[in-house]
Amino acid sequence: MAEHRFDNGKSMRTPMARAKGLGASGGGTEHFWRQRVSAVANALLVLPVVIIVAMIAGRPQAEAVAIVSHPFAAILLALFVVSIAYHMRLGMQIIIEDYVHGKGAKVAALIANTFFAVLVGAASLFAILKIGFSPLF
């Protein structure tokens, strides 16, 4: 809060900016909160997903498809890949902001980060849905 700053009331921030409380990032605690919410989802989903993957491991494609196409497995896997893709985009953003200082390089890295996370998430989700719907067609 402005009144606790060492410059003691000489803040350049407007009363509106202070009232909003979103700070220099413009986002307040939003990034932190989303990271934690997705972390809770990941923590809940990781055990069932590990079990599903362990069940599939070593089986031929037809049996793997049979396991993944069960709605229970497909829904858990779908939630997991979306949640981890979202969580890892947030996490890598922090790493980039910590280590990449050049403005152009930073923006490029942040865009690449988003693209990679969306690509991984979308490809995984599509594959799960295709397998999940395959017995219906």
């Binding site: 934690r36 981890i84 991984v120």
Partner: protein
């Protein structure tokens, strides 16, 4: 002119000491490992996506993915991925404890840091033993 003697990229302002200056502690090592495992998992998701897409593509694509992942190198990566996943998860749970304002005590911090490493190793071995025995 002092300005002229500045080499390119050389920082003249006082810099705070960085990682190599400090004595390594458990909490510091686990903090670094949390970030490293997070970055490793980030790259590892590409393997997960490849595996799922191969499965969705058909028996031949899946067979070649299985050959790649089932090779000794693939197994090694998968084992490392399991450990990174467990370590990052336990590190995250440690952050949740801290989020509630607990676990900051002198002994608690180091106990939690050590538990993160011991727990991740134990869970990784447990997962692989169960997965292989249940086969």
């Amino acid at each position: 002119m002092a300005q002229a003697e500045l080499r390119k990229g050389q920082a003249q302002r006082p810099l705070s000491p960085h990682l190599q200056i400090y004595r390594w502690t458990w909490t510091m090592a686990m903090s670094v490992l949390h970030r490293v495992t997070g970055a490793a998992l980030y790259l590892g998701t590409a393997i997960l996506a490849y595996w799922l897409v191969a499965m969705a593509s058909g028996p031949e694509a899946y067979a070649s993915a299985q050959w790649l992942i089932g090779s000794w190198f693939g197994i090694l990566v998968l084992f490392g991925y399991t450990w990174a996943l467990m370590h990052h998860m336990l590190g995250g749970l440690r952050h949740f404890i801290w989020d509630f304002g607990r676990g900051f005590g002198d002994e608690q911090r180091f106990l939690l840091a050590k538990a993160t490493l011991a727990g991740s190793a134990a869970l990784t071995i447990l997962i692989w033993v169960v997965a292989l025995v249940a086969r």
